[in-house]
Structure formats: C-alpha cells, structure tokens
C-alpha cells in the first residue's frame, strides 16, 4: 500500500541555499523551534505532493558528519535515529567539490538520497558546466538542478521526492576506500555484527559498515557507544587496533586521514568526470586587485607607498587641529597660572606637572586619530592582511617560515595584546621569536615622540622621516627574528597557508567607530598613566626645594647626570636619559618629560624651540631611533614575563633591545658625523 505520509530531511553545507529550498518546498507552512536540549534552531514545515503529506525538516548546515560540532551531531543523529524517508542533499553547484564531501557521508548512512543541485545559474556564470545525468549516474541518485532564489526546479524536486517515497529504487553509492582498507572495514564490520549487545542496541539505527568507518575516523561518540556496549577489551577494539597497525604500515598515515583522503579522492574523481570548467576561469575583482597589490614585483613598493601616504596624511592633516589644541592647552595653562592664588608649589604642580605633562601629549591627539583612521581603512578594506602576506615573503627570503611574519604587522597597534595573542601559536619557538621581536615594531605610543621631534627638526619631511623609522623597526624585527631563529630557537616552522579575505569598501561608520575605540584608549591613557608619570616627573624636577625647575641640580638632573656617560657617545645629554627612563613607563611620557626638563611646559612650539638647543637634526634622529628600539614599555615587559613564564625572557627583551637601540643610534650618529653632519 502506498504511503500517505512521509518525512523528508534537508541536509547541506552552510550557504548552499538550504533554507531557500525549504521555503520553496513548504511555503508558509513552517514551524521554528529548537533541537531538544540545545539552542540550535530547528525548522520544520510541510507540503502536499499529490496525495502525499510530507513533513520537511531543515537540518543545520554542516560540512561533514564527524562529531566535532553540535550541528554535525544533530544531523547524523536525526538521519540515523529518525530514519527520514528521503534525505534531500542541497549541493551548491558553484562549490560542488566541497559540497559533495558531505554527500559521500550522507550516502554512507544508507538513507535514500535525492540531490538538489542548487545555484546552477551561479555555477554557469562562473564557467562551471555540470553534466547532470552523468552526475546522477555516478552518485546512483537522482540529481535535480535548482535555482532556489528563483524557485526553479521545485516541482521536479517534489516529484522525485514523491517517487522516492513511493518506492523508486536508486542504486546509491559508497566510497571505495581501496582493497586493503575495504578488507579491514569488512573484518571490523564482522566483529561489530558478531557482538550481540551492539547488534541489539545499535544495528537497528546504523549499518555496521558506517560504524566501522566511524571507528576508523576516530569518532569519539561512536567509539564511546561501542565501548559501553561491547567493552574496551572486546573483539571490536582488538580488530580495530590490528587494522590501525596494518594500515599504518602500508600507508604511513593514521586511519582517519586514509578515510578522509579517499573521500576527497572520490569527490575529485566525480568532479573530473561530470564537471567541466571553462578555460578562462572566473576572475573576481579581489583577484584582479591582488594580482597587482600582492605581486612579487609591485607588492612591496605598494606596501611602502601606503605606509608613506599614511604618515604624510597624518602630519599634513594633523598639523591644523594640533595647533588649535596647542593654543587651547597653552591658554588654559596661562589662565590657571594667572587666576590661581595658591602656594607656588601647587601652582607649579598644576601648571608644569599636570597641564604641562598631559597637555604636551594631548596636543598630538589629532595625529593619533588620523593614523588610526588610516589603519582602520587599511584593515577594513582587507589590505592589512595583504600587508602581512607581503611581509611574509620578505621573511621567507631570509630563510624564515610561516607565522614569523606576524610581528611585521601586529606591533603597529599596541605591543601588549600582540604579545598576549602569541599564545595561540602552536610552535613554542615561533612564539618566543614573535614575542621577542614584537616590541621593535613601532606602536602608536611612539608617535607623539616622532611628531614632536620631526616638527622641530624635519618640518618639511615629517611623514618621510616617520616612515623611515617604521621601516627601520620592520627591518630590524626581520633581522632579529633571523638571529633568534639561528642562535636561540633553531628549527623549522610548520607549513602554513593564508586565507585572504575579499576586498571591501570601508564604511564611514565602521571607520569612525574603530578610530574612536582605539583613540579613546589614548585619551584614557593620558588621564591615567601619563598623568601619574607627569606628576612624578614634576616631583623629581621640582625638588630639592630652591633649585631651578627641571635644572641639572634637580633630582631628575641628578639621576640623568649619573647615567649621562652611557649616552654621551650617541650625542645625548642627561635630559635625554631622564626622558628615556620615564619613557619606560609609557613612551608618550618622553614628550612630557622634555616639557618639564626644558621648562617649556605644555606648549609644543616652546618645547620644539628648547629641543633645538639640546639636539641637532642628527642627534634628534638618533634619539627617535633609540626611542623606537629601546626597552619595551612596562606593560609590555610585564606581558612578556607572563607569556614566557620567566623573568629571564622579560629581562632579555629589555637587555637586547637596549643594546640594539644603543648600537643603532651609535652607528647612525657616527655615520652622520663621517658625512659631516653636526653632532
């Protein structure tokens, strides 16, 4: 007697158009709930095909039927447990090779399979031609071309479902895993079937072959079920172990890889037979852009150009609002000084310490915001991933592998979270190298220092000089990565591939939000660490009582002079020592310190003027290079200690970067003198 009710399950990869097909089949007759015990959405609907009432269940989208995700478990449990009359496998024709992988696993479950070859129009547009009858023949199942979005093929699909429910027989298929593997599968099947408890409890739901293949795939759920029913010392597991040993000796691979590889091999064979791709393959806009921006010849010059442009814009556009803020801060300091009737020390604390210290840094807020806008645009368009890719090429050229490229871009933001994030690098050696070279990348905290010095000494070429410093950081990070790889952490990194996102237009909202989220952190830092640092600098510059504020006789001067001999060969004096010492807390404080020690306070123009008395363009560049390279800030050092688990690595990071900074500054200074520059 013909059935008058049937259950159909829709299964497919995410984004294969499953829900659209579900809507086309059921119309408005839908019910949405949750799968029992989980929050994964369960969609059910119904339709009538002739006299047949069909309940349709839209299963969660999944790429395979392993037990690694909740969705995969739901799909296979439903198909095995509920035994729907038909499973409609929605296959995205434009990504057929990936989608058919799931088909091989659905077929192994032994349910009647109907294939809806969806998005055939998209596939055709990309020059993919599928021989549908041949595909059906190869898969032993009916294949119906559909265009879900245009409701094409729905009637034909319904008819095939009705035929399948009505008893039409389809051959189906299963992947042939090769003689040796098939023999082992058969032996394991026999062991499974021979176990009474397993037969009684599981073989009503699953085929022994499916259970055997799942054991080969190291499926934990199936293994646990069989272990519970048959026991860990049963013939099933002895058999499995023997198969594992035997096949490993033949293939040199674990069982799961043999199974997965064969499935992909089967799919590749089907695709080779039934799918034809036009010679002139579809080339996306992203591919076209990448052909230029990531090419071997143009990739690096474009990367350098974008970097230079970023700094040019930062200084060119930033100078106007910077002057407004400068005037505002100076005006505010003057107002406080004029109107505040309080002891001289308190007035000095407020004007020189707080307003002078924080104000000197706040002046650079526009430039910080502009650089963050540029970084947001580069990232939101997808270019930053390409930058990493391009830099990776340089790393390979130096004999480094894989993820060592990462420090090339991660330090542009802040070194602290970048160090923290290295914990996900699998290779301990890669991780250590990444942590150690990370502080050489110029984070945004160094920008106020560059801005101050370039405005005082290189006003016409601020962007270019800053660009040269960033480039210096990148080059030295690469060189040091190479040194560490050779001497401290020898070995090879694991091979790796990069998935580049498509290019996108950045949105105004996204860019503004990203800029604000990063820029506001700078503001918060100004109100906390920089404020605290400024007060300490004030204390050291003001005391002992009676000495001139910020003079060589102050406590700051005493400390600075004690270490001055160390920096004399670089052309620096004691004020540079104090500034660099406080820069250890946060690099921005270098600017505040110069404000205090030169007595110029918060006015950028005044600080610039004073700096010209202390530095020459050559020593100024040396000082910026030193600031770029010398010891990571306190927060980064603490993070290095946490992530490496040893103070010795934190100390090493401080020591080697200090030595490197000294050496590079010394070289620049000496070479500059040789060329006749004023020291």
């Amino acid at each position: 007697m013909a059935k008058d009710r049937a259950t159909v399950a829709l299964a497919g990869n995410p984004n294969a158009g499953k829900t659209t097909i579900f809507n086309n089949l059921t119309g408005a007759r839908q019910h949405i709930g949750n799968w029992p015990g989980v929050t994964v959405e369960k969609k059910e609907g119904s339709t009538r095909i002739g006299d047949l009432d069909v309940g349709i269940v839209d299963l969660p989208g999944t790429y395979s039927l392993t037990a690694y995700s909740l969705e995969e478990v739901i799909v296979r449990d439903f198909i095995a447990g509920e035994r729907p009359d038909v499973v409609v496998n929605i296959v995205d024709a434009s990504n057929i090779e990936r989608n058919l992988y799931l088909t091989t696993q659905l077929a192994e479950l032994g349910v009647p399979l109907v294939i809806a070859l969806n998005m055939v129009d998209v596939a055709r547009g990309r020059g993919i031609h599928i021989d549908v009858p041949l595909l059906g023949e190869l898969l032993g199942s009916p294949v119906i071309p559909t265009v879900g979005l245009r409701n094409r093929g729905t009637m034909e699909l319904k008819q095939v479902i009705a035929d399948a429910v009505g008893g039409a027989k389809y051959r189906g298929f299963h992947v042939n895993y090769g003689r040796e593997v098939e023999e082992e599968i058969t032996r394991l099947e026999e062991a499974i079937s021979a176990d009474d408890t397993v037969s009684r409890e599981l073989l009503g739901k699953y085929f022994p072959r499916w259970l055997a293949v799942k054991l080969f795939e190291e499926d934990e759920r199936v293994a646990a079920d069989l272990e519970r029913l048959a026991g860990p010392d049963s013939e099933i597991f002895h058999r499995l172990e023997e198969s594992r040993r035997h096949l490993l000796s033949i293939y040199g691979e674990d069982l799961e890889t043999i199974i997965v590889d064969n499935r992909y091999g089967f799919v590749a064979g089907v695709v080779r037979e039934a799918v034809e791709r036009e010679r002139e393959e579809y080339v996306s806009t992203t591919d076209r852009i990448d052909n230029v921006l990531t090419s071997r010849i143009w990739g690096f010059p474009f990367f350098a150009l974008f970097m230079w442009l970023m700094f040019f814009l930062t200084f060119f556009l930033g100078k106007f609002p910077m002057e407004w803020i400068d005037r505002l801060v100076t005006g505010f300091a003057n107002m406080v000084q004029t109107n505040l009737t309080s002891p001289a020390w308190l007035q000095s604390l407020l004007v020189d310490g707080v307003i002078g210290g924080v104000g000197a840094v706040l002046v650079f807020l526009p430039q910080i915001f502009i650089i963050f806008i540029c970084i947001s645009i580069l990232e939101d368009t997808g270019y930053m991933s390409r930058a990493a890719f391009i830099m990776d090429r340089v790393m390979h050229w130096l004999g480094l592998h894989g993820k060592s490229f990462i420090p090339m871009v991660m330090g542009f933001g802040c070194n602290v979270p970048a160090v923290m994030a290295t914990r996900t690098l699998e290779s301990e050696k890669d991780r250590m190298i990444t942590i150690l070279v990370n502080p050489l990348m110029s984070c945004t905290a160094r920008l106020p220092v560059y801005a101050l010095f370039t405005s005082a000494f290189f006003a016409a070429n601020q962007g270019t000089v800053t660009f040269s410093l960033y480039l210096m950081g990148i080059i030295l990070a690469v060189v040091m990565a190479k040194v560490f790889r050779k001497f401290l952490f020898p070995g090879e990194s694991e091979p790796f591939v990069m998935e580049l996102p498509p290019y996108r237009w950045p949105t105004l909202k996204g860019t503004v939000v990203h800029m604000w989220e990063r820029g506001s952190l700078f503001l918060r830092k100004a109100g906390t660490i920089i404020l605290a640092g400024s007060i300490i600098i004030w204390l050291l510059s003001y005391f002992p009582r009676g000495v001139a504020y910020g003079s060589a006789q102050s406590l700051a001067g005493y400390i600075g002079r004690a270490f001055e001999p160390l920096v004399k060969p670089l052309g620096f004096d004691w004020r540079a020592v104090v500034a660099l010492m406080f820069g250890f807390v946060a690099k921005e404080i270098v600017v505040s310190t110069f404000g205090a020690l030169t007595g110029a306070g918060e006015s950028r123009a005044a600080i610039s003027g004073q700096l010209q008395q202390i530095f020459t363009p050559l020593t100024a560049y040396c000082f910026m290079a030193f600031t770029l390279l010398y010891t990571p800030c306190l927060a980064t050092v603490a993070m290095i200690r946490r992530e490496t688990g040893h103070w010795k690595w934190a100390a090493f990071a401080v020591a080697y970067s200090l030595a490197l900074a000294w050496l590079i500054a010394f070289l620049i200074y000496r070479v500059g003198l040789l060329f006749g520059l004023k020291g």
């Binding site: 990936r98 590889d261 799919v267 990448d290 991933s385 091979p495 591939v497 998935e499």
Partner: protein, 79 residues
C-alpha cells in the same frame, strides 16, 4: 591528495594563499578550504584567516593592528 597539499605548502619558497594553492593543485578553492581545515586539525599545517577574528585571541588577533583597542575583544569581554 592531502599529502600533495602538505608537500606543496612545505616546498613553497614563499607565502601561499589558499587561492594560489587551489590553482596550483587544480582543486576548487572551497574544497581546498575544507581539506585545509582537516589538515589544520591534524596539526599538519596551519591556516591563517585574518577575516575570522572574533576577538577571542585566536590566530587573527596576532596579526591585528587594533592592539588593546580591539572592539571585538572588548565586546566579548562585556558579554
């Protein structure tokens, strides 16, 4: 097939994108992506996907320029 992928990646002298690898091996890019997922799970190679960052401290964060200003991470913390 999987072995070919690992060999190709290992022997490649420079960085490699999924698209480039798919072209070389004549495999559909999305299918290759699935194979790479598998090989990554088995620890045979790794795949860097900058677009998949959710602020959870995975690979994508490592190359991220957001630093401590990562909006996704702060959103996650609030959750």
């Amino acid at each position: 097939m999987l072995e070919r992928i690992v060999e190709e990646v290992k022997n490649n002298p420079g960085p490699l994108t999924v698209g480039e690898l798919a072209r070389r091996l004549d495999i559909e890019e999305s299918a290759l992506s699935g194979m790479l997922d598998y090989l990554e799970r088995k620890g045979r190679l790794s795949v860097f996907r900058p677009d998949e960052c959710d602020g959870s401290g995975d690979m994508a964060c490592v190359a991220c320029v957001y630093g401590s200003g990562c909006p996704r991470a702060s959103k996650k913390e609030k959750e």
